[in-house]
Amino acid sequence: MSARVTFPNKILPYALILPQLVIVGIFFYWPASQALYQSVLREDPFGLRTTFVGLANFRHVLTQPSYINSLQTTAVFSIAVAFIAMSVALLLAVMADKVIKGKGFYRTMMIWPYAVAPAIAGMVWLFMFNPTMGTFAYMLRSAGYAWDPLLKGDQAMILIIAAAAWKQISYNFLFFVAGLQAIPKTLIEAAAIDGAGETKRFWTIVFPLLAPTTFFLLVINTTYAFFDTFGIIHAVTGGGPGKATETLVYKVYHDGFVNLILGDSAAQSVILMVMVIALTAIQFRYVEKKVHYG
């Protein structure tokens, strides 16, 4: 392995990581500590007085039926988004690997959706499936399907899952393409000589060797589905109809900035933070064990 670079200067290394530390400090630790601080306070309705309430906010939040509902919504949403975004991307990457003519063009086109802002992506999907004027909504209805995501919770859910997954496919695609290219061609050839057909080769050779990429994307996609889909939900459903698409992040926003229940909202974001940390830790601890790195 390459030798470790050492600096004779004592201050230089710290100076070099300082910008990173500052950024992380200002944009993560400070807000996080604020949330933590807020989560043990309660503000009166007029915002005149704040009192220390200990864990009361947490108790309150965790006993709310709407919070439990939101937890379930988030679970369904996140699993669906991560699964769909990853499997579609993998399928596309495997197909892109076979394209010989126009490979670059095809890949570029595949990557573009990533450049679309989440809210815009949401709007596009909203338009396409808008019950009154959307092209796809029209097609669905003329096919005899009662499509109305503004009234039907499960349909609203499908819509935001589709939009959120679509948005993430490009990113996953990029990593899968790179991952596929890193698999030595001779392994595939050896497997072909060993009598494995195309599908068999994929599941017994390619997929296991892609595991590091898949694992990395699993972590990224889960976090994405938890946090970065806010824009899409906000633009498409606003958490509705009812509370059918209110994910945890959306609820944090809604309770805190719309309903102005700051203590509850802060407690929720602390819980959310703990959950994502726990999730990532679990992924690293248990899933990564099954991952074979080169």
Partner: protein, 362 residues
């Protein structure tokens, strides 16, 4: 077990690069054919066409008397050992060897029997539960061999299987491969650019040069009667001395470009005035006791002491130092130094004559 026949096999990559330009080889059942040649001459391409990994542009490949051009690699029933071994890194040694059998629906106990048998032959019994990355280079090489032999295929194909090993291990594995191939009696095609491997392993040796099979024969026949200047220069180490000149009058032999005359004994000379390349292997020049028995005098410029042998570089005393440079292989106990003049004789019947224009043997 089967014969392998190539008939006018050609490969053109992307309509432009002609990597293999019509090669025909017949490999009898159970024999080992070695393809040797410099880098980029099309050895791997040819092998991959036999394996079914590369489409055949023209000509036919037959295995066991059946034309297999349109068959996929699996249907051809061959096994291949790759240069980088191509072991499945996520599978244990056992599963690496069993993979091909499982894909072909071999019963479980039969798989187990064959894998253990192969592991026994190759001394891999203790490593069956390990992953490839936990093995040494030589052990990986054995696993790759094991994967090939468990299947009992019609033919083995090797693409420089030993080039990632150190010299000592390479020598050892070479012998193992040879004896394994002999005892299993499986027809084999072996690609290498190492001429020691080529000479020792081959029943039939094919010397390739830019997509053409320059000569196909037994290793010894190729060593003794190289068909062209290319083959002469490629087979043998150090390489054969090749001196440009023309046939001199009055039976004085060959007049070298530098002005010196060389007269090889027991060699039929072509017509006077013809431009030739005279080839003599370093080991076919003998140090003689006095100048009267010598064919020429060599002025030594460099000496390489190898222990068993000593290589003396130099040129004929009356010749040009550049154009008539020669190497002589002397016994290791001969003391030679820079600047010495050695009386040398060309061994009877060991000189080779090539046409200067075509490079073909005369």
């Amino acid at each position: 077990m089967a014969t392998v026949e190539l008939k006018d096999v050609r490969k053109v990559y992307g309509g432009k690069v002609e990597a293999v330009k019509g090669v025909s080889i017949d490999i009898p059942d159970g024999q080992m054919c070695v393809l040797v040649g410099p880098s980029g001459c099309g050895k791997s391409t040819l092998l991959r066409m036999i394996a079914g990994l590369e489409e055949i542009t023209d000509g036919t490949v037959s295995i066991g008397g059946q034309v297999v051009n349109t068959f996929g690699p699996a249907e051809r029933d061959i096994a291949m050992v790759f240069q980088n071994y191509a072991l499945y890194p996520h599978m244990k040694v056992y599963d690496n060897m069993a993979y091909g059998l499982r894909n072909r629906g071999t019963p479980k106990d039969e798989i187990d029997r064959r894998v253990r048998e192969a592991a026994g032959i190759l001394g891999l019994e203790d490593f069956l539960e390990r992953k490839p990355r936990e093995l040494s280079g030589g052990q990986r090489q054995r696993v790759a061999m094991g994967r090939a032999i468990v299947r009992k295929p019609k033919a083995f194909l090797f693409d420089e299987p030993l080039s990632n090993l150190d010299a000592k291990l390479r020598g050892q594995m070479r012998i193992e491969i040879k004896s394994l191939q002999r005892s299993l009696g499986v027809t084999s095609v072996y690609v290498t650019h190492d001429q020691v491997e080529a000479m020792t392993l081959a029943d039939t040796l094919v010397v390739m040069n830019s997509g053409v099979a320059e000569q196909i024969d037994t290793p010894l026949a190729i060593y003794e009667k190289p068909a062209s200047v290319f083959v002469a220069g490629f087979i043998g180490s150090p390489a054969m001395n090749l001196l440009a000149g023309e046939i001199a009058e009055n039976g004085r032999g060959v007049k070298l470009v530098g002005g010196a005359y060389l007269k090889p004994r027991d060699t039929v000379l072509p017509e006077v005035g013809r431009s030739v390349l005279l080839g003599v292997r370093p080991e076919h020049l003998t140090l003689v006791s006095d100048a009267n028995n010598a064919d020429f005098q060599l002025k030594v410029t460099t000496v390489e002491t190898l222990g068993a042998d000593t290589l003396a570089h130099g040129h004929p005393v009356d010749g040009d130092p550049k154009s008539s440079e020669l190497i002589v292989r002397l016994s290791g106990d001969v003391q030679v130094r820079h600047g010495d003049v050695l009386p040398l004789a060309i061994d009877a019947g060991k000189a080779h004559m090539f046409d200067a224009g075509t490079g073909k043997r005369i």
